[in-house]
Symmetry: C2
Subunit: 362 residues, 2 copies
């Protein structure tokens, strides 16, 4: 397995499986993330799939089983494009690790996400062609990669049928107007906007309609959220809840944490993201740990319900060190918790505590 | 206007317009709130409507204008029942007032909500009968009450069309298996599950499909959320965001704040609620201001996506005073902010800071 062709500044977390996140300042420059800058999260190999012999199987609780070639998927179904942010469930794990240690997990910063224009066939078109059985409640996906961790030979997961039938969920064969690259799932992947990236299965080979969620290791064991009072020693993996929609978040991308800069007006830029089709209604910044807040301007992202929202604010900074925290408010008036400690969980998922950068104004 | 026939323990906040909330301990006794215990929020009169001459008008961006009698609504459309919690946007305003004053608004405790079985015709059935115009984006409701506050003669509001077309939104003529009582909107009201109560317009007389939200005073001016840094002196009412989906919340109903009780194991009971069709995945309690948490058992509410969720936990309390806080986690792994100060807003809406009770164990 070769590490894929990526941006020179991409931050490689692991070589095998290949895992890399985006540096924040370049990430914030473009509302649609360039493919070479887009984060990569794998659990096994990056398979090289021959598009000519590739087949997608749709089976389980369907009226008729389908076996579709890539050509049939492209030519016999409508093509839709959705601009959607895909985010790793472990994005910002580093912040949880600062509150309490999390051994053996990738220490993701805040760049394990990206926003792309995904093109392909809406999943529901394919499900309708197969005929959704009355008892079906979940859509299970399985990929062509090879996995060593856990009990499943390939990566897999599932989403509830109601999500699978939503128009924004795609079987994508293009990313940013080009065929998918290997590390992003060539020739076909699921894209489940608003859900953790783990549900957007790459190198997709099998779709199964079933009554229960997938029994793949990465649905039934990993990507579950446990309370702070459960540890690796006390965990019962049949409990906890399987993550689906992503949580509300906001991050400062520039200046970066620890940056030295000139006193005076300083532009702050970042992203905010709301899960499950909600919208970002407000982003606030504070220089006094949340005692008082200043509103940021909302920028690119309006009209894209499945994408992040960019924001910008100019802060007047005196000489000295300043800690600047950011938080977002979504369309249900929900906001974020202040501290990572209270949402710490031993697998390190879903950190949406206020994001903080410290800068030194000279 | 007579105050309506309510439960003897109901807490009357205002006589005219009549506003009353439910006492928490009785409220927690029944998953479906008895009608006489159900909170009442009015902005004007409680009209006495003659059901024989009553008509509902459906107009605006429709293919054909409708004028429906109560008989036609009941006999010519399907009847559906939805168990849904309706909650005032000002529920728990008292907690915000403790952080910073909010003059001139009703000081609601945590009982300005209730859960009922609502029966009526799905709004979308009526909209489809009228034919939804291509340009329509919002569904505006107007009521038959008389209002003195603001510029509108009657109460009104609107919801986005996609919500109006969702199957859970009803034009209800029954509450808990009986015709609506006057104070709850007889003969017909909107019920918009997952949204603030202000959108569930009572004594409904007009539905208008339109491109923009309602220009009724209570949509365009009231029920807007402003940041903590906006005050009554600096507000521009054309800004702020019009509240829709309710925010995630959790409340301890018993024991009550200030209660004296016996040291030892103490049962704590309360409700939790997630907005916009999300589900409650966890409720946690803390006796040390959130340094550590204990999980509560989730009780009644499973399988009712538009209803609150009851919870219960037994806490072992030594002699002395204890402050117990509660928070919930929803299906997007979102949770609640710790402090009311950071979400304070000068109108006092959407308080979902951790709820706290202090008890004295003897």
């Amino acid at each position: 397995m070769q590490p894929p062709d990526k941006h020179p500044k991409i931050i490689v977390q692991d070589q095998q499986p290949f895992n890399a996140e985006s540096p924040l300042e370049p990430l914030r420059r473009s509302f649609v993330t360039p493919t070479e800058l887009f984060y990569v999260r794998n659990h096994g190999t990056i398979p090289e799939v021959d598009p000519a012999s590739y087949r997608l199987t749709v089976s389980g609780m369907v009226e008729r089983q389908l076996e579709l070639s890539l050509e049939e998927i492209r030519d016999e179904f409508p093509k839709e494009t959705v601009t959607a942010t895909v985010q790793c469930a472990g994005n910002r794990r580093q912040g949880l690790m600062e509150a309490q240690q999390i051994p053996g997990e990738t220490p993701w910063g805040a760049g394990a996400l990206g926003n792309a224009r995904w093109s392909g066939v809406p999943l529901r078109e394919v499900l309708q062609a197969a005929g959704v059985g009355e008892e079906a409640r979940h859509v299970a996906f399985a990929g062509l990669d090879e996995i060593e961790e856990g009990w499943s030979p390939n990566y897999g997961s599932s989403v509830p049928l109601h999500k699978g039938m939503s128009p924004e969920v795609l079987l994508a064969y293009e990313m940013n107007g080009e065929p998918l690259r290997s590390e992003h799932g060539f020739p076909l992947r699921a894209v489940v906007p608003g859900y953790i990236g783990a549900r957007s299965v790459k190198w997709l080979s099998d779709i199964t309609l079933q009554y229960v969620p997938s029994d793949n290791y990465f649905q039934a064991h990993e990507y579950k959220l446990f309370p702070p009072y459960v540890t690796e020693e006390t965990v019962d993996y049949t409990e906890g809840f399987a993550l689906g929609e992503i949580s509300l978040n906001a991050v400062t991308c520039s200046p970066s944490d620890g940056e030295e800069l000139s006193a005076g007006p300083v532009p702050f830029r970042g992203y905010a993201i709301a899960g499950g089709g909600r919208t970002i209604e407000r982003v606030d910044l504070s220089t006094d740990e949340g005692q008082s807040w200043i509103g940021a301007d909302l920028k690119e992202g309006e009209g894209h319900p499945w994408a992040w929202r960019f924001w910008e604010a100019t802060m007047e900074l005196d000489r000295g060190k300043h800690q600047i925290v950011v938080r977002a408010l979504d369309s249900a008036a929900d906001t974020q918790p202040a501290d990572a400690g209270g949402i710490w969980n031993f697998k390190g998922y879903a950190n949406n505590a206020w994001h903080s950068v410290e800068v030194d104004a000279r």
